[in-house]
């Protein structure tokens, strides 16, 4: 039952009823039945497809049903670059959604305009509509998006509307760079193997074989 007050529920159930706060119950119901409206405009869409594929399986979080009308959905995924020309469209779609509604800025472009710092692009969709969760990355990995989804569920449960940002865990490119540098610095690279295994274990998690 998630964050619904467990002791109250248990206590109540012995006598045949449960008590909780209405907003907590509503939050709990809402966070597991997010109907999505994908607003997909660019390369990040590929990663959105990966997210909905069996491997990452967004349905585990109750957010797998795409609605192709904004009027039926409560979670707007803005995935990709939003050009100035699309700005009015995005605003219109947001206005058509019924409250309560939440917005994801998926990818660096949607969150800040990314490297399109010029005449073409809206420098972050928050200039036009409110955003609940920003997911950085170009494109973000599906794991980062799942992090964002859990963050949103948590916010829905707490009825918290301040925007938040998914924090990157570590940069794989930097890690590889370190490894290469270390390997080049050693006379006999084999001597470094234990240290590298340890490094992988610490940063990537799980067992390195």
């Amino acid at each position: 039952m998630g964050d619904v007050n467990r002791s109250l529920v248990l206590e109540g159930s012995e006598q045949g009823y449960a008590t909780t706060r209405l907003d907590a119950l509503l939050g709990w119901a809402r966070k597991y039945s997010l109907f999505s409206y994908p607003f997909i405009t660019a390369c990040c869409g590929m990663e959105f497809m990966a997210l909905t594929s069996p491997r990452f399986d967004v349905s585990r979080f109750g957010a797998e049903v795409p609605r192709f009308s904004p009027r039926q959905s409560d979670l707007l995924w803005v995935v990709g670059t939003v050009s100035q020309r699309q700005g009015p469209v995005l605003k219109r779609i947001y206005e058509q959604m019924m409250a309560p509604k939440w917005v994801f800025a998926f990818g660096t472009c949607a969150a800040s305009g990314g490297f399109y710092d010029n005449y073409t692009t809206v420098p972050g969709i928050d200039k036009i509509i409110p955003v609940d969760v920003y997911i950085p990355g170009c494109p973000p990995r599906p794991e980062a998006v799942l992090d964002g989804l859990m963050l949103l569920q948590d916010k829905i449960q707490r009825n918290e509307r301040r925007p938040s940002v998914v924090k990157p865990r570590f940069d794989p490119a930097e890690s590889v760079h370190d490894m290469v540098r270390l390997r080049r610095s050693a006379a006999d690279p084999r001597a470094l193997l234990p240290a590298m295994r340890e490094h992988t274990k610490r940063n990537v998690g799980g067992s390195a074989s």
């Binding site: 020309r85 700005g87 800040s112 200039k127 924090k167 990157p168």
Partner: protein, 209 residues
Amino acid sequence: MSQIVLDKLRERFGTAILETHTNYGDDTAVVDRGVWKAVATFLREDPALDFDMPVDLCGVDYPNRMPRMEVVLHLYSVSKGQRVRIKTRVGDDDMDGAELDSLVGVWPGLNWLEREVFDMSGVRFRGHPDLRRILMYPEFEGHPLQRTYPAQKTQPLVEYRTEDEAGVPLNKLEPFGADEGMPFGRKGLPRDGTSPAVPGRRRSLTEDN
């Protein structure tokens, strides 16, 4: 075949061919803007040349030159397997007189490309059936690929939300720096990678040892 195209052009048009050069089999001819359409028709219709495919048309701005705007046309002959690049120059400092004959009558495929050159560079094509903007919106003022267009000037279609309205800061949040994803940076921004550290960033392997 390489030189044959340029030789034929020189033979036919004489001094109206201002320059020619050939690098690694890449033939280029700079022609006077007065013969722009005549050259195109010749290349299309001469049976020995038979340039039946217009590959690309674009504008390149050289603000210190006179005339400043270069219009570049790439052609390919499917039957002869030959390519040629034709350039011409138009427009003074204020882009006055930046006009060319439209080639839509020669290659109908140039319709949208001429609209793009008009939209981006501001060259007008005489006799074009429908010379409107194609990438930018009708409300847009100016031509963004002219060097005189300020690099960071945007023309939003929807008014941006103010920070008061949003209740949160709308400048780029961490980890979205002002130069996110821009290795070359912009004037006034640090170019040496001194952006603020990413929160929760892992420690480097070489620092640990």
